[in-house]
């Protein structure tokens, strides 16, 4: 297992190099000039040229790439063109809100999706099942921005229970943290619940009439126990894959939700730095997101060995 993990980690190196090249190229080939954006429309050509020189943007693109890449290898993602802060520090500052949002929405989603799926499988031959399919499809299909606006209009504007937007770090106040994050978390969880519960229901139904379920049924074990223990445990692998991919996606920033609720997370950072043509930050964020995807996927694969003893990598 250790050998497998090390191999997997080593294999990410070439992939990360390719990701670096592609990101760098896309960012630099996109029209727009950071110097122009920083200095404003009225600035003279000379001052723009001077700033470009200062930022190294006058160099050939290949030279620029290697200058950047050399630093990336040593762990230095460079400085923001816009704020001159180190890119790594900016990203780390933004990870807190994004991570909070992911945790809260995922907890919410799992807390609802798992019992819902088990209940539906238990009532599989009744009207509950088609109702569930319809509802989960609805949850998946609702556009986030629309649902977010609806929620804000309802419980933040018309009946002002929750704040319209904003973020308070958990270290300052747990209550305020929760209070600010609950609406965006609900918006994100709506899609997640739909996907997770549907996936879990499908894989549980696949298992309900397997031979081993018949064995325990013939032993006179309660149907609720059969579903919650035996069938559930066997349905976990596909569900874990879905949940893992979602977690990775959310850690890369929920752009729409973070923007709508002005949560200073990774998604908002990415959008802002694209608007500002803040090349080092865009590159840094994309690299970190790619890294997170690799790590989460590795974790999922390692988790499989706990969920299913037949899976061994060595």
């Amino acid at each position: 297992m250790l050998k497998y993990t090390v191999n997997r980690l080593l294999s990410t190196i070439p992939v990360m190099i390719i990701v670096s090249i592609i990101v760098f190229m896309i960012v630099h080939l996109t029209p727009g000039n950071p110097a122009y954006l920083i200095l404003g429309e009225d600035s003279s050509e000379e001052s723009i040229a001077q700033l470009e020189k200062q930022l190294g943007l006058d160099q050939p693109i290949v030279v620029q790439f290697f200058d950047w890449f050399k630093n990336v290898i040593t762990g230095d993602l460079g400085q923001s063109i816009y704020s001159s802060e180190p890119v790594l520090q900016i990203i780390l500052d933004r990870l807190g809100p994004t991570f909070s949002l992911m945790m809260l929405s995922m907890t919410l989603a799992l807390a609802i999706a798992i019992p819902a799926a088990i209940f539906v499988v238990w009532k599989r031959n009744t009207i509950v099942d088609p109702l569930f399919i319809f509802t989960s499809l609805l949850g998946v299909s609702i556009p986030e921005f629309w649902f977010a606006m609806l929620l804000v209009l309802g419980v933040a504007v018309a009946i002002p229970i929750f704040p319209v937007a904003g973020y308070v770090p958990i270290v300052e106040s747990v209550n305020l943290w929760f209070y600010h994050l609950i609406l965006p978390a609900i918006v994100l969880a709506t899609v997640e619940i739909g996907l997770i519960a549907r996936m879990l229901r499908d894989s549980m139904l696949d298992n309900v009439h397997q031979d081993y379920t018949k064995t325990v049924r013939a032993q006179g074990i309660k149907e609720s126990m059969i579903l919650m223990k035996y069938v559930f445990a066997n349905a976990l692998i596909p569900t874990t894959t879905v949940v893992g991919t979602m977690v990775a996606g959310l850690l890369g920033g929920a752009i729409i939700v973070e923007t709508m609720f002005t949560i200073p997370g990774i998604g908002q950072l990415l959008i802002d730095s694209i608007h500002r043509r803040d090349y080092p930050v865009i590159q840094g964020v994309v690299l970190i997101i790619a890294g997170i995807y690799f790590l989460i996927n590795l974790l999922i694969d390692l988790l499989y060995t706990f969920l299913d003893p037949r899976i061994r990598y060595d």
């Binding site: 031979d211 018949k214 049924r217 006179g220 066997n234």
Partner: protein, 333 residues
Amino acid sequence: MLEVKGLKVRIHSDKGVVKAVNGVSFTIKAGQTVGIVGESGSGKSVLAQSLMRLNPEPTTVYTEGEILFQDRNILALTDKEVRQLRGSDIAMIFQDPMSSLNPVFKIGDQLIDAIRAKQKMSRKTAKQKATELLKDVGISDPDRRMGEYPHQFSGGMRQRVLIAMALASKPKLLIADEPTTALDVTIQAQILQLLKNIQNKYGMAIIIITHDLGVVANMADNILVMYSGRIVEEGSTEDIFYRTTMPYTWSLLRALPRLDANDQEQLVTIKGNPPNLLGEMKGCSFYQRCPFATEQCALSDPVLREIGKDHRVACILSESEFIDQVNQLQSIQ
């Protein structure tokens, strides 16, 4: 102990209603071994699962008849009562040991769950009991093996584990649905021997369901031959093997490969396929494939009639007619 009276089972599927069991009656006494023999699709597994009401509901409907187990009609019990009956009074082992154990739980834990489902005892006591059960079914080093997962066991060993689970609460009736079909021939013999041994030790009645007459030859006291959801012959094992006057049983026996046959001889088969249980049935269900069929067979629907002590046959041919027919057929060949 177990009495099935005129049982009819219908299974609703996308293609229509399958008439899986069509008026089956038989009795099993305590400690007896009964073989139910039939081709795939003859309804034998559905019949076996009906005895514990294990067929998936609500697609399975028991339209007629009774299953009396110790004078209680299983078909009239509530779900909870059936659940209490399962495992403790009637236990079952299945055809495919490879898929009948849960792949993600340890053998020991599955066995302990089976024990504790029926008997209130601590995990520790249940564990001791599990060890004993595994010893009883011939698994060496049970303490170590309890910590292993099903995929670390061979097919024969898994079937032994499943038998141990079935024995967990000392059932009065053990239903073995094709218990050796998925196993190697040598392992088959071991498992059958094991079933005999545990029957001696625990004294339960056993129903063995199989398509292989060889399996029941040495095991069963009585044999029921099933065809298209009906019993077409029932009798003692000797009756079936030596005194059959039923064309279907006769064809089955003739189809058994023989060790003393010469290499050039072709295996005898029963031509055609079993009838589709979806359609309307008219006349004898074996009519189309029967070597001795007459025009009358297409019209009449034979019922079981007694031809010897506890030996019943569903065929319109009388014993002498049957023997004539067999002689005639053999003289042609």
